[in-house]
C-alpha cells in the first residue's frame, strides 16, 4: 500500500481514486509489527510463521520481504473473483485460508491506511475464535492461553487472558521490527511463493468480491479546509520573525 509518510496523497481529477503513479509503496506498517511479533513468539515457544495476503501479483514483493524477516512460508491469495471485496469479503477469504491449515494464533495489523481496523475482528467472528484488538504485548502462558495487553484511552492498558486459537490485531510500537538487509531480500528473491485462489481455498464466492460487498467507495474528495491555518509567508528569516512575535503575544515564551 502507499506509504503515507513518504507520499502526498492527492485525489485524482475525476475523484474515482487517489493518484497512484509515483507513490512509494511498502508493507502496511502495523502488519510489519504483527509479523515481527509472530517471529518473536515462535522464537520463544517453537513453531513456525506463515504469512498470507489477499491481493495481486505486485503483492508478492511484500510477502518476500516477510520471508526475508524470517517467516517460514508465504501464500499469495489471489483471484479475479476477489476484486472489489469489502473488509468482510477479505475476512471471508481469510477464513477459508485459515481452514486449510492448523493455526494456533492469527495476527493482523491493527489497521491499513484506510483506517478501517476491521478484518481481524470480522475474521475472528467468522471463525468463532476469541478476539482482541490494539494488542501491545503478548505473553504465552501454560495451557494454550495468552496473556495480552490492549491499548486503551489515555495511555493506559487493559490486561486480558485469551484462549488459543484466537485472533489478535497488533498495534504499532509493540516491538522493534527487525531490519531487512539487501542480503536477506536477495535470498528470498528466488523462493517460490505459492498461490491460492477461490477454488483451492473453497471460498464461498457469494461472500467475497464486488457483488457481495455491503460497502463500497463512491468517490474520493479533498476534505473541507475547516478554519484553516494562516500560512506565514516570506523567506525563512521573515517567517521566524513573524512567528516569534506571535509566540510572544500568545504566551509561548516562558
Amino acid at each position: 500500500m502507499p506509504d503515507t509518510s513518504e507520499n502526498e496523497i492527492q485525489v485524482s481529477p475525476d475523484g474515482t481514486d487517489i493518484e497512484r503513479d509515483d507513490l512509494v509503496y511498502s508493507v502496511n506498517e502495523p502488519d510489519n509489527y504483527a509479523v515481527e511479533e509472530a517471529l518473536q513468539i515462535v522464537s520463544r515457544t517453537g513453531g513456525e510463521v506463515t504469512v498470507a495476503t489477499v491481493g495481486g501479483e505486485d503483492d508478492e514483493e511484500v510477502l518476500r520481504r516477510e520471508m526475508a524477516m524470517g517467516a517460514s512460508r508465504a501464500v499469495l491469495i489471489t483471484d479475479p473473483a476477489f476484486c472489489g471485496s469489502d473488509g468482510r469479503g477479505i475476512a471471508a477469504i481469510l477464513k477459508a485460508f485459515v481452514a486449510t491449515g492448523r493455526y494456533d494464533l492469527i495476527l493482523t495489523g491493527v489497521q491499513a491506511d484506510d483506517g478501517c481496523a476491521q478484518v481481524g475482528g470480522m475474521l475472528a467472528a467468522m471463525l468463532d475464535y476469541p478476539f482482541a484488538s490494539l494488542v501491545t504485548s503478548v505473553e504465552v502462558l501454560e495451557g494454550r492461553k495468552l496473556k495480552i495487553a490492549r491499548e486503551i484511552e489515555g495511555g493506559g492498558k487493559e490486561i486480558n487472558t485469551i484462549d488459543l486459537p484466537c485472533v489478535l490485531s497488533i498495534q504499532t510500537g509493540i516491538n522493534e521490527p527487525r531490519y531487512v538487509g539487501m542480503r536477506g531480500i536477495r535470498q528470498a528473491a528466488s523462493v517460490p511463493i505459492p498461490r491460492a485462489d477461490a477454488s483451492t481455498l473453497a471460498v464461498d464466492v457469494s461472500l467475497a468480491g464486488k457483488a457481495a460487498a455491503k460497502t463500497r467507495r463512491l468517490d474520493y474528495f479533498v476534505p473541507p479546509a475547516g478554519k484553516g491555518a494562516e500560512i506565514l509567508e516570506g523567506n525563512r528569516e521573515e517567517k521566524v520573525e513573524k512567528l516569534l512575535d506571535l509566540l510572544k503575544a500568545k504566551g509561548g515564551l516562558n
Partner: protein, 332 residues
C-alpha cells in the same frame, strides 16, 4: 426505516461524551426515527448511567450481568447480538472499545459495517451515504452502504456535535433476561493506568511536539533545544513513541495524554484525529510541516511550510536573543 440503537460507553456511573454524539448521528441518519440507547454493565453504576440517559434518549435498554462490569467487548458483543432485532442500525463510538466490539458485531448481525464515520450525507430505506477519511486524514471518501440487512456504524469521537433536544423523559427497559450464556474465551484481568514520566506534559503551558517528520532520533535535539530556549517541554505523536525515540509518557493523543497548553507547536506532525483528540483547551496551535497538504494545517492557527530541521534551529536562536538567555544548557 429500521430501528436505530446507540451503544453507550460509560465509566464510574457516567456516560461517555460519545452518548450525546451518537444521538446527533442518529438524528442525521433519520430525524423521524427514535434512537434507543443500549447500556451494559452491572450494579449501581449501570443504574446511574441509565437514569442520566433518560434526559436525552426516549428509550434505554438496560442489560445487567455481573461479567459485564469490566470492559470486555467479547461479552458485550454476545449480549448485543442476543437482544438487537435483525436489520437494525447500530451506532457505537470508534474508540478503543468500539474498534474491539464492532467488526465482529457486524458479522454476527449479518450487517454492513462502516468504521470511523465522520459525517452522514443521507439515507433512504436501503442505502446510506457516509463520509470517511483515509491515509491519515489526507483524503476524504464517500462510502455507500447497503442497509438491507442492517448496519453497524462506528462514529468518530468529536465528529458529530451534540444537538439540543427536548426533554426525552426516556423509559428504561430491562433486557437482561433476553441475554443467553456469555463467552469465556477472553477474560479481563486488570487495567493499568498510564505512567507519568520525568516530565508531566499534561501540566506544561507550552509544548514543542514532534512527529514522524523529525526523521530520526538524533534530530530530536533540534526540538529539545528549541523547547529549552522557549522554556517549554517536548511532547510527541504516536510514531515517535512507536520508534522508541521518546517515552510513552510524552505522547499526546487518544492513546496517550490529553494536554491543555497555552501554546502547542506541532513539528512534523501530520495531524491524525487520534493526535488532535489529545490537544484540549483550544491552545494557540502552530504547525511546522513541509507537506502543505498535511491535515494539521486545517486545524492550526498558524502554519509554516518548511523543513523543521532548518526552521526550528533558527527559531531557537532568535528566541534566545529575544529572551537574553545564554547558550544551550546554560540557561539559569
Amino acid at each position: 426505516m429500521a430501528r436505530i440503537f446507540a451503544f453507550i460507553v460509560h465509566r464510574n456511573g457516567i456516560a461517555d461524551d460519545s452518548a450525546a454524539e451518537l444521538l446527533a448521528a442518529a438524528r442525521k441518519l433519520n430525524p423521524a426515527q427514535r434512537c434507543t440507547a443500549i447500556v451494559t454493565g452491572c450494579g449501581s453504576g449501570l443504574d446511574r448511567v441509565c437514569d442520566s440517559l433518560r434526559a436525552t434518549y426516549p428509550e434505554i435498554w438496560r442489560i445487567a450481568r455481573e461479567p459485564l462490569e469490566h470492559p470486555n467487548a467479547e461479552l458485550v458483543r454476545k449480549a448485543l447480538v442476543d437482544v438487537i432485532p435483525e436489520g437494525s442500525l447500530v451506532l457505537a463510538p470508534h474508540s478503543h472499545f468500539g474498534m474491539d466490539l464492532s467488526p465482529g458485531l457486524a458479522v454476527k448481525l449479518n450487517a454492513a459495517y462502516v468504521p470511523d464515520v465522520v459525517d452522514i450525507e443521507g439515507a433512504d430505506g436501503m442505502w446510506l451515504n457516509a463520509v470517511r477519511q483515509e491515509f491519515g486524514g489526507q483524503v476524504s471518501v464517500h462510502v455507500r452502504c447497503d442497509l438491507s440487512t442492517g448496519a453497524v456504524l462506528n462514529i468518530r469521537p468529536g465528529a458529530f456535535r451534540p444537538s439540543e433536544g427536548g426533554a426525552a423523559d426516556g423509559q428504561v427497559l430491562d433486557k437482561s433476561a433476553e441475554v443467553g450464556t456469555l463467552p469465556d474465551g477472553r477474560r479481563y484481568v486488570e487495567t493499568i493506568a498510564a505512567e507519568i514520566g520525568d516530565v508531566d506534559i499534561t501540566k506544561e503551558p507550552v509544548l514543542v511536539s514532534v512527529g514522524r517528520g523529525i526523521g530520526e532520533q538524533g534530530n530530536l535535539a533540534v526540538a529539545e533545544d528549541l523547547a529549552e530556549a522557549m522554556g517549554a517541554a517536548v511532547s510527541c505523536s504516536r510514531p515517535v513513541v512507536d520508534a522508541k525515540w521518546l517515552d510513552k509518557s510524552r505522547q499526546v493523543g487518544s492513546s496517550g495524554h490529553s494536554v491543555r497548553p497555552r501554546v502547542y507547536l506541532a513539528c512534523g506532525i501530520s495531524g491524525s484525529f487520534q493526535h488532535l483528540a489529545g490537544i484540549q483547551g483550544n491552545p494557540f496551535l502552530v504547525a511546522v510541516n513541509k507537506n502543505p497538504k498535511a491535515p494539521i494545517f486545517r486545524v492550526a492557527d498558524v502554519g509554516i511550510i518548511d523543513d523543521l530541521l532548518e526552521f526550528l534551529p533558527q527559531l531557537a536562536n532568535r528566541v534566545r536573543q529575544e529572551t537574553c538567555a545564554p547558550g544551550r544548557g546554560k540557561r539559569p
